[in-house]
């Protein structure tokens, strides 16, 4: 481990000294462990592929810490060239007019062509402005998908459900077979944000917040969403659904231990599951409600994007554009997709990976990308909500209260809408 690290350090140092004339650019990110190592590998590949620019990635801890460090650095004029910002923090950085150079402008100024349609459907809009111009460059992208315990389904004699109606029909049999029928991993991302995308329902006014920050209001008291949580609560009471709190791993563990039949995880979870799951598993799309007209659209991307920070000299911006070009090339996308489990974000990279037979060996890796490539609906493009990390905290709090019996589903959503709208109004004042 230490040897590997020092080797990496030496090779970075060597590339830095060997390209003395090169323009240095920095990249702050919020990834740790294996995913952090892959970022270093991507940077090494970039530095080896050309001599004009030298890229140095720096891990700043978690997503939240990376954003907080980026903000603090920007305020003191010490910002990195590239900052990784996670999905929920997108509104914070995009609404701060002047904090970033839109990725699309940057790439065009550097003399490259930019084709929005090269990106897969589910990735195309999330970090773009309301006109569709890419502000952030989508980077690590994932989708919430359903993992299937093959043993459990075989034992119960049921098929993997496509809709929640099918799940309701299968749940008693799965329970009878001795399994917890359903567990999730993150109610905010999987059963709120992506409930709106998969069922094609409006999440917030002002075009899900894309058009303006002024008077944007949540629509979480939507009867369909309330119905979803009423169902989850009654499933929990009947033993068809189990909730282990807001922590991701607490909810993943019972699935790994072969106690759960269906688990909603991330398209990026399969790498870990391959090592930890005690039974064979497969995966399919996140279910939707057959009873909701127009449901079954693609999901939002989760994960994070890269933002080119403003206030940097032109030659450094050119290097950032070079790097973005490099990053979206099919070869690098394929490498990143296979090394981390995050989805490939361009059609070309997907086709390349497919043509090499990767998905025949690991079909689970294809589920997330296929779900993101489903046709988009009016409301499945994304959301742009200020102070959204705090709104998520309110949701987590109220959801916990629902399942510990401290509140009712209706009261919980009334509270989320009220407190969330207060935060949105506050954000509109800061951005205005």
């Amino acid at each position: 481990m230490i040897k590997q690290f020092s080797l990496a350090a030496i090779s970075i140092a060597l590339t830095a000294t060997s390209s003395l004339a090169a323009t240095n650019i920095t990249w702050w990110h919020g990834m740790a462990g294996r995913n952090g190592e892959v970022i270093n590998e991507v940077a090494q590949k970039f530095n080896a592929a050309q001599t004009a620019c030298a890229l140095t990635p720096v891990s700043k801890g978690t997503y939240e810490e990376a954003l907080a460090s980026g903000i603090a650095a920007f305020r003191s004029g010490e910002q990195p060239n590239i900052l990784q910002v996670f999905d929920a923090g997108a509104a914070t950085i995009i609404n701060a007019k002047g904090a970033v150079v839109p990725a699309e402008d940057l790439i065009k100024e550097a003399g490259y062509d930019f084709d929005r349609n090269a990106f897969i459907e589910g990735v195309r809009y999330f970090y773009a402005d309301s006109d569709g111009k890419f502000v952030g460059m989508p980077f690590n992208s994932s989708a919430p998908i359903m993992y299937i315990n093959d043993e459990a389904l075989k034992k119960a004699g049921v098929e993997a459900p496509k809709t929640w109606e099918e799940f309701e029909a299968a749940a008693p049999k799965l329970k009878e077979a001795g399994y917890i029928p359903l567990v999730q991993a993150q109610l905010t991302w999987q059963f709120t944000e992506n409930f709106f995308s998969r069922n094609n329902i409006q999440f917030a006014t002002n075009n899900n917040g894309y058009d303006s920050v002024v008077d944007t209001k949540l629509k979480v008291t939507d009867p369909n969403l309330v119905m979803m949580f009423d169902k989850l609560k009654s499933w929990a009471d009947e033993g068809y659904f189990a909730y282990y709190g807001a922590g991701w791993n607490d909810n993943q563990k019972p699935f790994e231990e072969n106690k759960v039949a269906l688990w909603i995880g991330s398209s990026g979870s399969f790498g870990g599951l391959q090592k930890t799951a005690q039974m064979p598993f497969s995966a399919t799309f996140l279910p939707y409600w057959g009873s909701i007209a127009g449901a079954g659209t693609n999901s939002f991307i989760g994960g994070a994007a890269l933002f080119a920070m403003a206030g940097k000299p032109a030659e450094e911006n050119k290097c950032v554009a070079d790097f973005f070009q490099f990053l979206t090339s099919p070869e690098i996308q394929k490498f990143y997709h296979q090394a981390t489990g995050y989805v490939a974000i361009t059609t070309a990279a997907y086709e390349l990976t497919k043509s090499e037979g990767y998905y025949e060996k690991t079909p689970v890796a294809e589920v997330g990308i296929k779900q993101l490539m489903l046709p988009a609906g009016e409301w499945s493009k994304g959301y742009r909500l200020g102070f959204y990390p705090q709104i998520r905290e309110i949701m987590e709090r109220e959801y916990g209260r629902i399942f510990s019996g401290e509140t009712t589903v209706k009261d919980a959503f009334d509270t989320i809408e009220r407190e969330g709208n207060e935060l949105l109004a506050r954000f509109a004042k800061t951005a205005g």
Binding site: T62, E64, E65, L67, A68, I71, F74, R75, G89, T92, I93, A96, K97, G98, A99, Y243, Y244, G245, A246, G247, N249, D250, K253, P254, E257, F387, P389, Q390, E393, E396, R397, E398, Y399, G400, R401, F403, S404, E406, E419, R426, K429, T430, A431, G432
Partner: protein
Amino acid sequence: MKRVQFSSPLLPYLFLAPQLAVIVIFFYWPSVRAIQSSFYLEDPFGFGSTFVGFDNYLGVLLSPEYLSIARFTALFTALVTFFSLALGLLLAVKADAVIRGNAAYKTLLISVYAIAPPVAGLIGMMFFDQHIGPFVKIAAFFGWEMKVGLSYFDTAFAMIFVAVWKQIPYNFIFFLSGLQALPASVREAAAIDCRSGIKRFWTVIFPLLAPTAFFLLIINVTYALFDTFGVIDVMVKDKAANNPITLVYKVYMDGFRGNDIGGSSAQSVILMIVVFVLTVLQFRFIERRIHYT
């Protein structure tokens, strides 16, 4: 008191300068900035800030959520302070009475103090893990289905348990050295006058320990209010949800995670005032009753 003579009147200030610089840079300057930001509503990147007067304070103080966190913080501080002082004292009195092998007992009790708070939190989290925690299994044996992370009460119990566990050795060290500093003659005289060990403890030994106890009271209150951050952060696993948190954790969540600089500054100013008032009260009302020898 002996007067020290310096050859130049500036020299003492020079010696003080490093310490003063540290205080000014790391304490006064951030405090002033916090007070300033608490009156503004600011875009996190610093593009625009609007003066909003006391709006941030009103927003915080009128929020039922904030008040319920404040209530929990008060309860948490009281319980953690009480239990860690009481258990520390009990163990110190018992260890003081042990003659054979007392070094081994002391080392065992003190060693826990060497554990860093996040590590203590991590160990605590494993003790109370829903799937593998031994404490959860013990509780289940007695018919208590513990769900740390999901049930407010269970998480509060686990947090207080770990916070107390972490602090006992510190109190133990101070109480033990306090006990060992008591003159043997006083103890012997007391033993002749009174046969009841418990009575002797409360009327003779405890009053003599009071300066130590008072010092520890202040330290423990500050510990429970601020230094338990690491324990809480690890126990809630980065997602507070419906779990109990303290005011300091709320400042962190709103400021560093939510990027709401005005609101979290107002909260930290409120905390500064609370600590100031608490310290004044302690010195005015408790210290008066203590006799230093």
